[in-house]
């Protein structure tokens, strides 16, 4: 049961990485039609994806930000899911230091969702009526994080019972 749950988390996380997290539709208030004429490329709706976002930041020279986002949104969740999987599959369980690492990583499990929510909130407040719409990537990401938390909780409970 827990193995299935972790497997589903992996699939959901994988799709969240490649699917658009949100789309941004730029607007310039009552000047929107004019802005569309002057700069149609900038006024087109843009879909934001995690992998693409990191690549864009890296290419634009925002290396530290790209590394931070890659660490918290790609590397740490992958490590966490891998360790959860190993914890379930390995009969002897994870070595103590790995288990400690897993617990430490779990603390940041909701950080990505929080960051996305914060971004959405900020852009929602932008002038000119720019609109942000959450996309499938956000929901699969959230589902992956929530399911992994549930899996970790169940594993801990069964370990206590044993």
């Amino acid at each position: 049961m827990i193995l299935c749950l972790v497997g589903t988390c992996c699939l959901l996380f994988g799709s969240a990485v490649a699917l658009p997290i949100f789309t941004l539709e730029p607007k310039a208030g009552e000047w929107t039609p004019l802005a569309r004429i002057i700069s149609p490329e900038d006024m087109q709706a843009k879909a934001m994806r995690l992998l693409e976002g990191v690549a864009i930041l890296w290419n634009e020279g925002e290396r530290i930000l790209a590394l931070l986002i890659a660490l918290f949104s790609l590397v740490l969740p992958t490590l966490k899911l891998t360790m959860l999987w190993m914890e379930v599959v390995l009969e002897e369980g994870l070595p103590e230091k790995w288990a400690l690492f897993l617990r430490a990583v779990s603390r940041y499990a909701m950080l990505e969702v929080f960051l996305v929510a914060l971004t959405v909130l900020l852009i929602k407040e932008m002038p000119g009526g720019s609109r942000v719409t959450l996309q499938a990537g956000f929901y699969t990401f959230s589902a992956s994080v929530l399911l992994s938390l549930m899996a970790a909780h169940w594993m801990e409970r069964s370990a206590r019972q044993n």
Binding site: L11, G14, S15, A18, E41, T78, L90
Partner: protein
């Protein structure tokens, strides 16, 4: 004891499974991506010239412009013996760039503010016909019309969304055309070189009519310029004449004033000398 006999699982192999599942998730998500409409025989491509690089001198080593400035290139795109795009002229450029959108003051004035996105798009629309070609050529604008720089004939079957690039060692060193489907101005990042493209060393016949129109326009412009210049010269002559007259009158006035002042000064000086002599030699007449 049973645990010791069970085969030991490779932890790296186990760790690989969730990573493989994440990869599978990425693969699955690709099926949900919105795909661009596939290119078919009915596809309508939007294209515009984005950049052109021109050799610093003509093929006969002459300068492009007599005053030593860089050429003023403008591009023409023809399809099915019709001009489907005429770009604006980029002044003094060896590397010229154009946008797919351009608003002229004339557009704004003539339309009385009613400009739509379609009226400001400077793009050519070409259907993906199996055997057809389209041509793109560059011309250097000068006072007498426009001179052919170079161009390419490209098979329409080679069109696909992206940046179409062609290079040559001739006058038109490089040309880049943005190609999209159905008026989309968002150009995919990939660039490509079409097969079967032929460099044009002379003006294609279909562009001759446009060249003649340019020559006519240039002639009219020259005529207008001549009229303006002759009017200007006439006015200048008139103004110079008037100026000389005014100057003459002023000189005359000044001369009279000078004479008068001179006379007055002379009289005053004479009086003063007389008074002084009277003081020195009183009683003598």
């Amino acid at each position: 004891m049973e645990r010791e006999h069970s085969p030991k699982k490779n932890p790296w192999l186990i760790a690989g499974i969730p990573i493989a599942l994440i990869g599978l998730g990425i693969l699955i998500s690709q099926f949900f991506k919105t795909k661009e409409a596939p290119v078919t025989k009915e596809s309508v491509f939007s294209l515009w010239v984005t950049e052109a690089e021109i050799a610093p001198v003509e093929e006969n080593n002459d300068r492009w412009d007599k005053d030593g400035s860089a050429p003023d290139p403008g591009a023409l795109v023809t399809w099915q013996d019709q001009v489907v795009l005429e770009t604006v002229v980029a002044k003094d450029s060896l590397i010229a760039r154009w946008d797919p959108v351009a608003i002229s003051v004339g557009d704004v004035v003539l339309s009385k503010g009613g400009i739509s996105t379609s009226s400001v798009k400077r793009i050519a629309r070409v259907r993906n016909a199996g055997k057809g070609n389209f041509s793109v050529a560059l011309f250097d604008e000068d006072i007498l019309g426009r001179d052919f720089i170079g161009g390419w004939t490209i098979p329409t079957a080679q069109l696909r969304p992206g940046l179409l690039e062609l290079k040559s060692g001739k006058a038109l060193r490089r040309i880049a055309l943005a190609v999209t489907l159905d008026d989309n101005l968002d150009v995919p990042e990939q660039s490509y070189t079409p097969k079967g493209a032929v460099y044009l060393d002379s003006t294609p016949e279909v562009m001759m009519e446009t060249m003649e129109r340019w020559a006519e326009e240039a002639k009219e412009e020259l005529g207008k310029l001549g009229e303006t210049v002759s009017k200007g010269i006439d006015r200048l002559g008139q103004e110079v004449g008037e100026g000389i007259e005014k100057l003459g009158a002023r000189v005359g006035k000044e001369k009279d004033r000078f004479k008068k002042t001179f006379q007055e000064t002379k009289e005053k000086a004479g009086n003063k000398v007389r008074e002084s002599l009277e003081k020195l030699l009183p009683g003598q007449e």
